[in-house]
């Protein structure tokens, strides 16, 4: 039952993605990709939920903590590197 709502969201988001991203000029394709990496770090919320809920075995703790660290790496690394690149795009005068 819930699946159909999730698929609904999936399909509409794909359309939104195509609409938004096809308007980004080739000039900014590299920052676009690092931005995509950064927002892909949204899996951090999945990692937080998984790491925080239960600690029933050492494996879960290791996996959970690693997932949080990896996702944070994506978020922090992605946004910072995007910012660094975008800062360089300047117009004369």
């Amino acid at each position: 039952m819930e699946l159909i709502y999730l698929l609904f969201i999936l399909v509409l988001s794909v359309f939104l993605g195509f609409a938004l991203i096809s308007r980004v000029p080739p000039l900014l394709h590299t920052p676009l990709m690092s931005e995509a990496n950064a927002i892909c770090g949204i899996i951090i919320i999945g990692a937080l939920i998984s790491a925080g809920v239960q600690a029933n075995s050492p494996l879960t703790i290791i996996l959970g903590t690693s997932a949080v660290a990896l996702a944070t790496f994506n978020v922090v690394g992605g946004y910072l590197v995007t910012e660094r690149m975008l800062k360089m795009f300047r117009k004369k005068g």
Binding site: L27, L28, S34, E35, A51, T60, A69
Partner: protein, 460 residues
């Protein structure tokens, strides 16, 4: 219940902020604001998740966040712009691995609750596993830790077919018996294995496509993980990123006139047979002094940079040359082919880093109609993307590939080390055209020599 509602409400706000972030990337003027909004969305989502109340043990989370932030900041602030493709490959890999871990925990803690759950778990670990190792190999190839040339061996196709078949059969078994942990681990292991074999046969010149495809996959993994843990925000963002990677892959493939299947399954190097022209034509060299005299009288110059320019670290010298030309009353533009560089848009970043104004950076389709009225086209470190054979010679392996029409300019200078061929190993007709002059030598030194000529002429 109230907490849950609040969290999801914040997730909606975050989604909107992410969407605006991408929208604002539509122009370099608003792009930084977009990045800020997007980061704000991320911050809100994280805070909403943390205060939701389900989270009991914070100490491990804190350790993860601290480690991830420090490493992320160090890597991001130190990464050189020429190495950006490696950085991106690294981020793809980490994102995919994190998703795999989340699915793994979900499976360990809750098991596969129903059929949908089993299928999405399966997809999550397969795509996540191969994206992780595929990105690791791509990172290795780009950073030079793994040989950049296509690695091919006999029986490669059979091995790949065997791995894919095994992943499918085991997957079928897993979906029927989702309680079997051994199947879960076997599928994960095989998928990681497959990621390696997927990327090693692909050559360095095709990396822009590989990076884009992996970008798409990393989005798809986030999406399937969203289905596993029933998280709508993961699905929304995963779809956005998946669409992003797909669009970029298509653009890159079009620019090389190849299909995605052709890039992934047919290594470029093995397809191309080197065609040697029967009559050996003569390329005409020109000295830096003579080149300067022509440039001094030019009213419009188009510079066509390739990856060779970045390798020679000539961006800053090129910018200086551009400034002298402009002072001389000349119109200077940079023509950028979509596959110039090692990832989509890479060349633009490299030139922007050298302080070249972004309104001078022109796309292929915008610059080509202007080439006929251009006095001088300067090709620096590019080869195949200016080869007119792609328009005329049906037997050429690059026939049909869109190129920058450098040959249409009144004079063409090609800065090149020697007469060696480009990535594709194809002879470039342009070098033998009547309006083409070769300036042999290191790109950076040649450009610096031209700059020196301009400097000394101004002193008199």
């Amino acid at each position: 219940m109230n907490n849950e509602f609040f969290m999801n409400f914040i997730y909606i706000i975050s989604s909107v902020l992410f969407a605006f972030g991408l929208k604002f990337l539509g122009s370099p003027v608003t792009a930084r604001r977009g990045n800020m909004l997007s980061a704000l969305g991320m911050f809100l989502a994280v805070v909403a998740t943390l205060v939701n109340g389900h989270i009991i043990n914070f100490q491990w989370i804190l350790i993860g966040i601290i480690v991830g932030s420090i490493v992320g900041a160090l890597v991001a602030l130190r990464a050189q712009m020429t190495n950006m493709p490696e950085m991106i490959a690294l981020l793809h890999g980490c994102g995919a691995l994190a998703s795999v871990f989340i699915s793994w925990i979900a499976y360990r803690v809750h098991g596969a609750t129903d059929l949908t759950n089993a299928i999405t778990l399966y997809l999550s670990i397969v795509i996540g596993g191969l994206t992780f190792t595929g990105s690791a190999i791509a990172w290795g190839k780009l950073s030079g830790n793994v040989p950049g040339k296509p690695i091919l061996f006999t029986g490669q196709k059979w091995l790949n077919t065997a791995i894919i078949t095994a992943i499918l059969i085991l997957g079928f078994m897993f979906i029927l018996q989702p309680a079997r942990y051994d199947l879960f681990l076997a599928i994960l292991g095989l998928s990681c294995f497959f990621g390696i074999f997927m990327v090693i046969p692909i050559g360095g010149a095709d990396m822009p496509v590989v990076i884009s495809v992996l970008n798409s996959y990393s989005g798809v993994v986030a999406c399937t993980t969203g289905f596993v843990i029933h998280n709508t925000l993961l699905i929304v963002v995963g779809s956005l990123v998946g669409a992003n990677g797909m669009i970029l892959s298509i653009i890159m493939c079009k620019a090389m006139n190849r299909s995605i299947a052709n890039v992934i399954f047919g290594a470029f190097g093995s397809v191309v047979q080197k065609t040697t022209t029967a009559e050996k034509k003569e390329a005409k060299p020109i000295s830096v002094e003579d080149a300067f005299l022509i440039l001094e009288n030019a009213k419009s110059v188009v510079i066509i940079p390739g990856y060779g320019l970045a390798v020679a670290q000539a961006q800053h010298a090129v910018r200086e040359l551009g400034e002298f030309l402009e002072k001389n009353g000349c119109d200077v533009k940079y023509a950028i082919h979509p596959v110039a560089g090692r990832m989509p848009g890479h060349m633009n970043v490299l030139l922007a880093e050298a302080n070249i104004s972004y309104d001078q950076l022109m796309e292929m389709d915008a610059i080509n109609p202007l080439m006929e009225n251009t006095d001088v086209a300067i090709v620096i470190g590019a080869n195949d993307v200016v080869n007119p054979a792609s328009r005329t010679d049906k037997s050429s392996p690059i026939y049909g590939m869109p190129i920058i029409n450098a040959d249409k300019a009144k004079t063409v200078f090609v800065l090149k080390r020697s007469m060696a061929t480009g990535f594709a190993g194809i002879e470039n007709e342009l070098f033998y055209y009547d309006n083409c002059r070769m300036i042999f030598g290191d790109a950076k030194q040649t450009v610096q020599a031209l700059v020196a000529e301009f400097k000394s002429s101004q002193q008199h």
